[in-house]
Subunit: 229 residues, 2 copies
DNA sequence: CCAAAAGTGTTTTTGCTACACCCATGA
DNA sequence: TCATGGGTGTAGCAAAAACACTTTTGG
């Protein structure tokens, strides 16, 4: 039989975007206590009849209006006193979205005073244990980017190699060598060169590329397959 | 204000051990419905007033009698229908312990009919979504072993290089070259050669080594530090 | 003396690092 | 014509992979 004790649980999302050459995170300002007016990660409670992945997608949609987003669970935070009003366990997800400067986000929730894209190295003190959650998400994507092509989720479909390098540099927080970066990126065929080039720029126009997921999946499958012995 | 809906949640543990050259997992046979008599991962509900890490340690202790064990959270499973009796979200941990063939485990819980160490490639169908949980844990430790010295958690304090190689081969599920393995393991100073050797074996006695955590921590710290640019 | 595992080096290949100049474009 | 970022190759080094025989021990 199921026990009598129950807990509340929630989802918190670390939503990454890339804009103006910087890695950013979507923060919201809370409208209600506890932590009224504090900055926090977008998050909300999970309904009794929805799965947690589902809930994460719903919450992401409510805060950004976006669907079909790269969204991945990375850790669950369950200290007894992490929420001042009672026991709340939270499952943390990170998401990567393409910020388009045109359309602003319309958080579809009354709990939010405002939202903004905060550069990752300027994050203020956050409500609850959200600073910890954010730190853990950064650690995770730094490791993840070395074996999984998450960088492309932050870029438009067509991008230049310099843009791609900027994403890697922002996530890894270090400068990379341009020639070595290009050599490596182009060596395995996961990028497809397009006929199109930039235009209207006051310097040599860069070639656009796109991510070739088909080729990537082949390589990845191979990586997962063990050799005969 | 906190919402009215609440859920139950639990911890499930994938407890790895290494014995007779094989990687094994501790399974228990359930004593009660649902899934009465089915094999399952050790797990139990989290109390209202305990943190989840705490809860994982308690549950691990109840099933093995062991404390101070390598125990790490790896994923949370929250499908609505994963438990037939109601909404139960489970936080999954994996643990690594040294199986000593002498002392048997004494599960300190009435919910268990029996327990046994099951080789990872002979796992039967498991209760709930435990097969999925187990698969995910394997994926995790396979990746983890390439950058974190978790293999030592499975071995006694003193071990031979062949034993160590066996652990790597069992986790990675492939054969490794003996000379290259030794070269690599001995190249970075994280193993300390002992004066002691095997005895009573009908072949050349192997030298014992132990893991030098001090040296490892130095290397690891260095790895986390970013270079000047 | 045999069976069984311990232990040991070298060569080849591959991937990573470091490094500097010319090109195309719009203003 | 100038400022700006786009684009390119090579050499040296280090790590990984491939590969087979001798040594020690107890029975």
């Amino acid at each position: 039989m199921l026990p009598k004790f129950e807990s509340i649980f929630s989802i918190d999302c670390v939503i990454f975007g890339f804009d103006e050459g910087a890695l950013k995170v979507l923060l919201i300002q809370r409208n209600d206590p506890p932590f009224e007016n504090w900055w926090a990660l977008p998050g909300y409670f999970v309904e009794k009849n929805e799965g947690i992945q589902e809930a994460a997608e719903r919450i992401l949609f409510n805060f950004t209006g976006l669907t079909d987003i790269f969204l991945e669970q990375f850790y669950t935070f369950g200290d007894v006193d992490r929420h001042p009003q009672g026991r709340v366990i939270t499952v943390a997800y990170y998401a990567m979205i393409r910020i388009s400067s045109k359309d602003n986000l319309h958080p579809n929730t009354p709990f939010v005073k405002k939202a903004f894209w905060c550069p990752v190295n300027e994050i203020p003190a956050l409500a609850f244990d959200h600073s910890l959650i954010f730190e853990k998400s950064l650690q995770r994507i730094r490791r993840k980017i070395s074996y999984d092509p998450i960088a492309f989720e932050l870029l438009p479909e067509k991008f230049t190699l310099t843009q791609l390098q900027n994403v890697y540099e922002a996530i890894l927080n270090k400068k990379l060598d341009k020639r070595n970066f290009r050599k490596k990126m182009l060596s395995n065929g996961i990028l497809k060169e397009l006929d199109e080039k930039q235009h209207g720029v006051a310097f040599r126009a860069a070639t656009f590329y796109k991510f070739d997921r088909r080729t990537y999946n082949k390589l990845f499958k191979k990586e997962l397959t063990f050799s005969k012995e």
